[in-house]
């Protein structure tokens, strides 16, 4: 079975900015794949090159076994695309918009309306697209990407701007379409989203893919790190540092942001006993590593979405 996407050595430069710097990746058919990274990491540029709307300076790409550049209408029928910024015709309602996009693929109005229903926009079907809320526009934009039942779907930050409820609903929708056998590639800022949805993620920063793997596997690689936090003001940070060193409890980070005193460590037991001794356990939280820690470890920087 051919891979849904195989890309090798993609590079793209804008003036002085090396937006994509040697990205190679393979997405299997039916996989749910995430590209995770902060602003300006090069996610959108990578996606656009994969979609075939941008010609890379370098690199070789195949989608479903076909080259996306130059434009290939046969391939376009099999992929669905949602841009980071919505792209709607002027002065049309949501229903007219989805029907129009449907018609490009020979999808009838009934099926188009059903897609609108699926993203929960039936009630807003008569609203002009420029009067829709950010979240509604986002959902319409996704519906337009899915209306023709593509085998391979590209979504650029699909849940940005959605309220928590709409976000959950969209997650369900994306899981459903993936369960139908469609390959889904999405970019996101949200680590939790990648963790919950994706079979595999690539962590991207400054145009490079730092690591690719199942979220659980990436986390397991550093799962001996535990994050511990307590309410701030119970123990001065300098005292804490001295006590922890004295107790032989090594920490990889220790900070007090005025709300909580938090630290990461591989040895939670001595840390917890130090805190207990000083009676500084109010608001105690202990949690295992997340993708955030993966990012921290890979880049040496805190993750800022």
């Amino acid at each position: 079975m051919t891979a849904a996407i195989s890309a090798d050595g993609i590079r793209q430069r804008y003036g002085d900015v090396q937006a994509v710097d040697g990205v190679s990746l393979t997405v299997e058919a039916g996989e749910f794949y995430g590209i995770l990274g902060p602003n300006g990491a090069g996610k959108t540029t990578t996606l656009e090159i994969l979609e075939g709307i941008r010609k890379p300076d370098e690199g070789r790409i195949e989608l479903l076994g076909l080259a996306p550049w130059p434009r290939n209408p046969k391939l376009l029928r099999r992929i669905g695309v949602q841009f980071q910024a919505s792209a709607f015709f002027n002065r049309l309602t949501a229903r007219e918009t989805i029907r129009t996009f449907g018609s490009f693929y020979g999808v009838g109005p009934k099926a188009a309306d059903a897609m609108l229903e699926r993203v929960g926009l039936t009630e807003s079907a008569g609203v002009m697209t420029d009067k829709m809320s950010g979240g509604q526009a986002q959902r319409l934009s996704i519906a337009c990407a899915l209306v023709h039942g593509p085998e391979l779907v590209f979504l650029d930050e699909p849940t940005t701007g959605l309220d928590p409820q709409a976000r959950r609903n969209l997650w369900d929708l994306l899981r459903d379409i993936n369960a139908e056998g469609r390959t889904v590639v999405l970019t996101t800022h949200y680590l939790d989203e990648a963790e919950v949805l994706c079979d595999r993620v690539s962590v991207m920063d400054r145009g490079r893919i730092l690591r690719t793997g199942a979220p659980a596997a990436l986390i397991r690689e550093i799962d001996d790190t535990v994050r511990i936090s307590v309410e701030s003001g119970q123990l001065p940070i300098d005292t804490a540092r001295e006590l922890l060193t004295a107790a032989g409890a090594e920490t990889t980070s220790l900070e007090d942001d005025g709300v909580s005193l938090s630290l990461s460590t591989r040895l939670p037991a001595p840390v917890l006993s130090v805190l207990a001794d000083r009676g500084a356990l109010r608001g105690l939280e202990v949690r295992g590593a997340t993708l955030e820690d993966v990012f921290l470890q890979l880049t040496g920087r805190e993750y800022r979405a």
Binding site: M1, E28, A29, G30, E31, F32, E51, G52, I53, R71, P73, K74, L76, R77, R78, I79, V81, F83, A85, S86, A87, F88, F89, N90, R91, L92, E96, R99, T100, F101, S103, F104, Y105, G106, H148, G149, P150, E151, R175, N178, A179, E180, G181, R182, L197, D199, R200, A214
Partner: protein, 380 residues
């Protein structure tokens, strides 16, 4: 959710190898893009006003104001006795009064004041040496010119009669058009050309810029929609708009009130307008390729359409233009549309008057489209 790639067949995806219904998709893309543009146009109140209503208002306004303006019938006041005029009697007098309304008075100053105010077209008196004196205002040159012409011819006839010999030279002039050639015959083709140019230039420019700004062009590139469908639908909608403008103009202008009389092959206006629409769209395409925002596209289109309309004789005849302006005018597609449609609508022109213009308009469109092609951008 599994980490294993699933092998479930996509539920709605086309089975590989089955022939894609490309032909049906092409037709349906053309139809729905056309629909999208028509709906957007109809919902855009200001576009609707400027393309359909505004030119029509101009036609009705000018048509009403200039009603009967071209008749040489002028009002003059004769102060005191003027022998040459008084001597015209009988049948000749009736003929004279068809073109001149002559009132008699004896207050020269009052009569001059009336001429100044425009209540009279001229004052006529006989000077002490027997000269006929005509005092007129330069405000209405057509009228004053015709008064001078008439009086002059009366004087000539009197002179000639005085010699008792038959005239050595005679000039006989008559209009080639029938006597009913009224301003509406010129106004309609001129203003129609302006209206068609406005609709087509703005339609093409704003669609291009609007779609580029809203990222629709990019989005269409990732849908199996051919550039041909996009262009064909835009041309179809613009041509349809232009034909609606033409129909409305002709219906209004031919009402008895405005009294446009269509000549023989007037139907040639249809292919002329179609070709001109394509030519104007190519101007809009160029404007849209240069402009980055809808406002800029609007401005550039305006800067092109309005001067082009003046130079092409949409609003008033271009006869007196200096040579260099005339040369510019000749390069404008609207000039040729106006000339050709005056010919077929009002002057009895036929296929041979329209064909070269149609060819020229299409050639113009081809050249402009070629230039736009070089400047074309899919996205900002």
């Amino acid at each position: 959710m599994t980490a294993e790639p699933t092998t479930v067949a996509p539920a709605q995806a086309p089975a590989p190898g089955s022939p894609p219904p490309a032909e049906r998709e092409r037709v349906s893309a053309f139809a729905s893009l056309s629909r999208v543009m028509i709906v957007a146009f109809v919902r855009d109140r200001s576009a609707l006003f400027f393309v359909l209503l505004f030119p029509l208002m101009f036609l009705m306004l000018f048509g009403t104001l200039l009603k009967g303006a071209s008749s040489p019938h002028a009002k003059v006041e004769q102060v005191g006795a003027v022998r040459v005029l008084d001597s015209v009697q009988g049948e000749a007098r009736a003929g004279l009064e068809q073109v001149l309304t002559i009132t008699k008075g004896d207050d020269e100053a009052a009569a001059l004041e009336k001429v100044r105010k425009g209540d009279l077209d001229a004052m006529i008196k006989e000077g002490p040496d027997g000269k006929v004196v005509v005092r007129y205002s330069a405000a209405d040159q057509v009228r004053s010119g015709s008064v001078q012409g008439i009086v002059n011819s009366v004087v000539q006839q009197a002179n000639q009669a005085a010699t008792g010999k038959p005239p050595a030279f005679v000039m006989e002039s008559s209009q080639v058009e029938d006597g009913s050639l009224k301003p509406i015959q010129f106004l309609t083709p001129g203003l129609l050309g302006w209206a068609v140019a406005t609709g087509a230039v703005f339609g093409a420019a704003l669609t291009l810029v609007g779609w580029r700004q809203k990222k629709v062009l990019r989005r269409l590139r990732l849908a199996p929609v051919s550039a041909g469908s996009v262009i064909a639908s835009r041309v179809a909608v613009s041509v349809l708009t232009a034909l609606v403008q033409t129909a409305v103009f002709l219906v209004v202008a031919t009402t008895p009130f405005f009294g446009l009389k269509l000549t023989g092959d007037w139907w040639l206006i249809v292919p002329l307008v179609v070709c001109a629409t394509v030519a104007f769209m190519s101007i809009g395409l160029l404007a849209g390729s240069i402009a980055k925002t809808e406002e800029a596209a609007n401005g550039i289109s305006q800067i092109i359409v309005l001067p082009m309309s003046f130079l092409s004789g949409s609003f008033f005849p271009t006869d007196g233009m200096p040579g260099w302006l005339e040369a510019i005018s000749q390069a404008l597609p609207l000039r040729h549309l106006v000339t050709a449609s005056q010919s077929v609508l009002s002057r009895g022109g036929g296929v041979m008057d329209a064909l070269p213009t149609m060819g020229g308009l299409l050639l113009f469109a081809a050249v402009m489209t070629g230039i736009s092609w070089k400047l074309f951008r899919w996205e900002d």
